[in-house]
Amino acid sequence: MWARLFGPESKRLRLLKQSDQGPLLDFYRQAFVDTKTPARGVDYVVLDFETTGLDIHNDHIISIGLIEIRGFSIHLDTAWHQIIKSTRDMPGETAVIHKITDDMLVHGMEVEDAVVKLLQRMKGKVLIAHHAVIELGFLNKICQKYFNQEFYMPVIDTELLAKRVFSRHHQEIKSSSLRLFNLRKKYDLPAYRAHNALSDALSTAELFLALLNDLYPKQDCRLKDLLKGMPGS
């Protein structure tokens, strides 16, 4: 009852009332997962954006990578990678990191169309991202701009989960130790050479499973346990 009044679901219902048409109406029509559900039974979408920078207002998305977790397993047949069309020049340095050239960006998908497709993939699920403020920030900006409405969904930030692990073990938290690469190393996950939105989404998904097993060795938690202290919860 309280969850319904104050949890993600009540927020969804409020947002649904506000929306009149378009992709967000469709998105908010689908109920969020009950937070009392055992976390194992929840479907998750793991998302990563490659962007031109961290400034949500002036930078933009270069590519989107997505992969799904069902039953605490990552399913590679759900992998999706999309390059976003851009007419603006990309800073040279970014091109080097992401191995995406201007030419590829010209032939990418319009960001508006990509987000419509993304909303389709995400509805009714729980979002996972590493340092999720970036993904949430860009999504919200785009939704406000094209669909005149706020973006909201339950989210698990693997960076915050990692912080929980560190504080549980009374370990000192350095900002560098919370980076995706270093956290994967801590859990002996294989080093992926590639650096693109999809392989980072996959990396994040694997890290999520490792963190989950560290925090809940019996995997007996509920969704609300994972959402505790997460943005928007």
């Binding site: 194992r40 990578g65 039953g71 605490f72 397993s73 990552i74 399913h75 590679l76 047949d77 992998a79 999706w80 990678h81 859990y187 002996d188 996950l189 294989p190 992926y192 050479r193 590639a194 693109n196 939105a197 999809l198 392989s199 996959l202 998904a205 694997e206 499973l209 490792a210 097993n213 560290d214 060795p217």
Partner: protein, 619 residues
């Protein structure tokens, strides 16, 4: 497949058995992968899976245990666990993640749908460890870059129309016929049966040189001790026959009817360096210096045989035949210098030479059995003989035995009655240490001299070993002292010394354990054979070893030996000294997989021996 999953594709492409699939299939497979994470201590296979999967361990480690909870395998990064996908799996069991592990899972039904595409892939799943190894051997035999030398049979290269004359033809007419046909030897027939062969050499030495009347029939000078090969003999065995008998022409026969002739030249067209030639060179050599020169071809010969895809058993036989020829020649030299022996003796080869399993330039193991008529003053003669041969072998590249198991050692140069005492002591009062030393003397084979001096001792020795359970128990314990490195990759038990860091001693960890098992069976069954493959085959025929185990061990020995041959071939090509230390990194994923299978077979057999041994002790 999203191209961004390239990394997973690349990883999958390196692993057994996916390496055998087409690119398209591997790309399809990547999409089918489900990734699962196991924390250390969690059960494997995961308890909450919805269907049967093949597991590829991407990182971490898993201990697999049998129904009794005994650890039987450690699964490491890059290894697959396919039990659930194999219809009649023989290695089912349960495991525990011993480290945090990342699993790539592929549904069995996807695996099954891909099996039609690649026979190699199919083979991996339908078969047991043993059958996989057998299949790997077949694949080696038909590998594409190897010449087909060993697959051809002699009828493929023999001359189609044998040139022959009847036995009452005059020598003069037969010689004319040979000149006309431009051949150096001619078959002699009587009532459509092959009765002899006459060569240029016979003409020279038995007719021209002795001034024999050329109007006499050819039957007067022909060679009647006919050595021939049947038409389906392999080229390798043909070559071996020529090498052993030091002859250059062989009639090819079906029954007793000649269908063609094959010469060493015909074989040379198929193969460059030639053991028959080397053996002839040895026979003609008149000095140790010349023998040293000839033996320099040995590594080259081994390389050629390896390139021609001969089996390891064949290579062992050819190389040993040449070592035998060198030894015999050195003994002839010694007798020339020292004079005829005062009493009969027999020179015996032990170790790998005794077993016909030599690769080029191993160390020398030998012994001298002397007639009981020997008097103390005769020892000076035999000591000089042994020294002369041993020095000669060393000069030819067969280094002195590090354990001093050579006829130059007083202990191993004794009359028959002393040898009988040695064997009786080893068998009736076995000690672990002395057995390790003496095991090479249970592989003795006469090379030169009076073979029966040894054969009588051997017969009595085998009748003692056959009935002596305690002795066999000691031999078993000796055979169990060297275990194959079963855990793979990281677990590969590597030897650590300065020179051979991070390498696997394939001889002591792979070959010798099988040789030791074969010896145990030979001694407990009283088999006279020395060759390990033959011993294992006879162990099955005598009913003491199952057919399956016998075949599996023979295949394992062949596979491991062939990897050694391949390793040494590369070293010889690189101008290095051939050795037994293989860097696991130089093996392909498939080779590592098969080597592991071979090690598993040895381990299984050692466990069988171990349990029998314990049973014996309890009685």
């Amino acid at each position: 497949m999203e191209i961004e999953l390239q990394e997973i594709y690349d990883y999958l492409s390196m692993q057994v058995p996916f390496i055998t699939l087409t690119e398209a299939s591997r790309k399809t497979l990547v999409n089918m992968i489900v990734i699962h994470y196991l924390r250390r201590g969690q059960a494997f296979p995961p308890s909450d899976i919805d269907q049967n999967y093949l597991y590829l361990l991407r990182s971490g480690a898993i201990d697999l245990r049998d129904a009794d909870g005994n650890l039987f395998e450690k699964m490491n990064e890059g290894e697959t666990y396919s039990s659930a996908c194999v219809a009649e799996s023989d290695d089912g069991g349960h495991g525990i993640a011993s480290e945090d592990s990342l699993l790539y899972m592929i549904p069995c039904k996807v695996i099954q749908s891909l099996q039609d595409e690649s026979p190699d892939f199919h083979q991996y799943f339908i078969t047991s460890v043993h059958q996989r190894l057998k299949y790997a051997l077949e694949c080696r035999q038909r590998s594409e870059d190897a010449q087909s030398f060993m697959q051809l049979s002699v009828s493929d290269i023999a001359s189609r129309t044998p040139i022959s004359v009847s036995s009452d033809t005059s020598i003069a007419n037969a010689a004319k016929h040979m000149t006309h046909e431009n051949v150096s030897s001619i078959l002699v027939m009587q009532d459509e049966q092959l009765v002899g062969i006459m060569s240029d050499h016979d003409l020279r030495s038995r007719c021209v040189a002795t001034g024999l009347n050329t109007e006499l029939p050819v039957s007067k000078i022909m060679t009647t001790e006919l050595i021939s090969v049947s038409d389906n003999t392999s080229l390798a065995d043909t070559l071996l026959t020529m090498t052993r008998h030091q002859i250059h022409h062989l009639p090819v026969v079906i029954g007793n009817r000649p269908t063609g002739m094959v010469s060493v030249t015909d074989l040379i067209h198929q193969l460059g360096a030639n053991p028959a030639f080397i053996a002839t060179d040895i026979e003609k050599a008149n000095s140790v210096e010349r023998l040293v020169q000839v033996s320099r071809y040995l590594p080259e010969l081994q390389l050629q045989l390896a390139m021609a895809n001969s089996t390891a058993v064949q290579i062992g036989e050819v190389i040993t035949a040449i070592t035998d020829a060198l030894t015999r020649r050195l003994l002839v030299f010694a007798e020339r210098t020292l004079g005829p022996p005062p009493v009969p003796y027999v020179w015996l080869a032990g170790g790998s030479q005794g077993r016909n399993e030599q690769t080029s330039h191993s160390d020398q193991d030998n012994a001298l059995f002397i007639s009981d008529d020997m008097r103390p003053e005769h020892d000076a003669y035999f000591a000089a003989l042994a020294k002369s041969v041993s020095d000669g072998l060393d000069a030819c590249g067969y280094i002195y035995c590090p354990g001093n198991a050579m006829a130059t050692n007083d202990r191993w140069r004794q009359p028959v009655r002393v040898w009988r005492k040695y064997f009786r002591k080893w068998i009736e009062q076995p000690e672990k240490k002395s057995l390790m030393l003496s095991s090479i003397f249970f592989d003795l084979r006469p090379v030169y001299g009076e073979a029966q001096l040894y054969e009588e001792v051997q017969r009595d020795m085998l009748s003692m070993t056959r009935s002596n359970g305690i002795f066999i128990a000691f031999m078993v314990s000796n055979a169990l002292s060297r275990r194959p490195p079963v855990g793979f990759f990281r677990n590969f038990v590597l030897i650590h010394d300065q020179e051979h860091d991070h390498t696997l001693d394939i001889k002591h960890r792979g070959i010798i354990p099988i040789v030791d098992i074969a010896r145990v069976y030979a001694l407990s069954e009283g088999l006279t054979a020395c060759n390990s493959t033959e011993r294992l085959r006879l162990a099955y025929e005598s009913g003491s070893m199952s057919q399956e185990m016998s075949e599996n061990l023979i295949d394992s020995l062949e596979y491991i030996s062939s990897l050694r041959i391949q390793h040494q071939a590369q070293q010889i090509r690189d101008g290095m000294q051939a050795d037994n230390y293989i860097d696991p990194k130089t093996l392909s994923g498939l080779e590592r997989g098969h080597l592991k299978d071979a090690f598993m077979i040895i381990k299984d057999m050692q466990e069988v021996l171990e349990s029998r041994h314990q049973a014996t002790r309890m009685q």
